[in-house]
Amino acid sequence: MTQAINQAYLEEMERDPRLILFGEDVELSIFGDTRGLHARFGAARVRNTPISEAALTGMAVGAAMAGNPVICHLMFSNFLYTGFDAIANQAAKLRLMTGGQAQLPVTFVAAIGGGTSTAAQHSDTPYPLLMNLGGLQVVVPATPADAKGLLKSALRGLNPTVFLIPRTRGGVMGEVPEGDQLVPFGQARVHRSGGDVTVVAIGACVTHALAAAETLAAQNVAAEVVDPRTLAPLDEATIVASVRKTGRLIVVDEARDRCSAASHIAAVVADTAFASLRAPIRRITVPDTSLPYAPALERALMPDPAKIVAAALDLVAWSPTERSS
């Protein structure tokens, strides 16, 4: 996936000579996604910055307002918090506050998620709070092809977008179509069809969901795996249509459970497809705690295929007369 993201930067920076990228150590590139761009495009367009997130996010907004498209690379998503005024108070609100005058061709990029013992301050999955700001497009790719196509859409857009890279997906391999394949926002991808249970999975959780679906198939349970790809806008129609078919929903989300993307998706389905539900909705998320450093504890708190399999078998067997929800 890292290479696919790198290709998207490269192709879009070639396509639009005004597009600039800045952030801490983007020249060296600790994740590899910006590697080679400095050599290719020079120091004026690929800028190493001081460790100054408040200024960087503000400058990204200002450059975008002045008509210059910009990628603001924030490295770990926890660093959104130190630059959050310009994201939450400025980027998310300026278009509305200016009565639609402001166009904001700005993409904030950051890595999300635990699983590699980076401990509590480098492992957050903050899309729920970004989804809640009411003015940001929030993108979470799960495959290399989607990462490239979604990022290209973000870099050509005129509205502020946060592109969140699932950290554990960096080395994931996959086909990336040649050429200019853009993935539109607000369109979920159905990775696998099935009639017994809908598994909506976000980012790195898509891999877990597909692994679980294999296991379930061996037990004659057909899981449909739906990847929203963008959380704002959210393709509610595809999710709801799937649940109308299967009657069961599991949402797998690496964010903490309280006010998660999973709880929002569960609410949407409960509101619009209540009559189709044959069992309660299950959320597989991280409990309301920071992630610990010790690998066994971190793994135990995060979603995994076994938890999805167990939830699916439970839902398929669920009956209102035999057990309480």
């Binding site: 004026a44 408040a54 400058m59 008509g67 210059n68 509305l96 639609g100 806008p233």
Partner: protein
């Protein structure tokens, strides 16, 4: 007090420029007096923070700027909006919450903006405009056409961390940025001296950013310092910092009488600054020098009174926005395709 690096010295404005600046200050003052009266009479949906007493700063700086130069402003932004070329009736309509307002009634007093004039917005977050101006300066530098960006902020914002971050980056990257701190002696309701260590202009110097402290109530002093800083920025000379000492003749916000129970400044202090009001001072100076005919100020006042009356009538008779205005100004589509 000034330790700026030498650039071509800007001489005086022409007499017609001086008269235009006087008129611009009067437009700001009378428009805001109207909005203040509207606020105290309960005719406005929200609050207003008035710029009364500080007009010389915005007018003296913006006199050097073209429509394609950028400014950012703060919660006290009406003066910057008008000084940068914003249309007064669109300001009044915005503060009235009408669809004909500068921001279609969706922003209000604290967010007035006119991007067609390079006015990137007043800002309700103290210090919020500083990073945005630096980003606009980066865009200006990339465009290579000699545009500049100016950030207006107060002494309160000088204590926000983003100022130090921006001074560092602007100096490193030699951005065409002018940071204008309007030191009006109050950080909301706290005397600046109780919340501000040292001299604000001194905060720029360790970064190698030329800094100067001037009398912000002296229009020509502002014009001169801004001219020098803006010329430096246009000529790839990098950022500058101006601390303009001025005074907020009104309160932090017009509604404060309703919730403040004790005085936080003395009548004597306010009276002393009324005596230093930049508008009568500048008008008198022009008359002394024969650059303003007797009776000309009265004519300007009459013309401005007419303009304000028309602005009020325009705003009062305009419709409020409906929900389609919100839909049109969303940055995330409700469903389906974004981008």
């Amino acid at each position: 007090m000034s330790d700026t690096t030498p650039v071509a010295k800007v001489s005086e404005p022409t007499p017609s420029q001086m008269r235009a600046m006087l008129e611009r200050m009067v437009v700001i003052r009378r428009t805001e007096e109207q909005l203040g009266a509207d606020s105290r009479a309960g005719r406005l949906p929200g609050n207003v923070h008035l710029y009364i007493g500080q007009e010389a700063v915005a007018v003296g700086v913006c006199a050097h700027l073209a429509d394609d130069d950028y400014i950012t402003s703060n919660h006290r932004g009406h003066g910057h909006y008008i000084a940068k070329g914003g249309v007064p009736r669109e300001l009044v309509a915005e503060v009235y919450g009408k669809r004909t307002g500068a921001c279609r009634g969706l922003g209000g007093s604290m967010h007035v903006a006119d991007l067609s004039k390079g006015m990137l917005g007043a800002n309700g977050i103290v210090g919020g405009g500083i990073g945005i101006a630096a980003g606009a300066a980066l865009a200006a530098q990339a465009a290579g056409r000699g545009q500049v960006a100016v950030a207006f902020f107060g002494d309160g914002a000088a204590s926000e961390g983003v100022l130090s971050e921006v001074l560092n980056i602007a100096a490193l990257w030699s951005l065409p940025l002018v940071l204008v701190c309007e030191h009006n002696l109050y950080s909301e309701f706290s005397p600046s001296a109780t919340v501000t260590a040292g001299e604000i202009a001194d905060r720029a110097r360790p970064f190698g950013v030329p800094a100067t402290r001037i009398d912000g109530n002296d229009l020509l002093a502002v014009w001169s310092a801004a001219g020098e800083a803006i010329a430096r920025a246009r000529n790839a000379g990098g950022p500058s910092f101006i601390e303009a000492r001025t005074y907020r003749l009104r309160g932090h916000l017009e509604a404060e009488a309703g919730f403040i129970q004790t005085k936080y400044r003395t009548d004597e202090e306010v009276a002393a600054w009324v005596a230093r009001d930049p508008i009568p001072a500048f008008a008198a100076a022009l008359e002394r020098r024969g650059l303003l005919e007797p009776g000309e100020l009265a004519k300007t006042e009459a013309k401005v009174a007419q303009l304000v009356a028309e602005a009020v009538s325009f705003a009062a008779t305009s419709d409020v926005p409906d929900m389609s205005f919100v839909e049109a100004a969303r940055s995330v589509s409700a469903a389906g395709q974004g981008g």
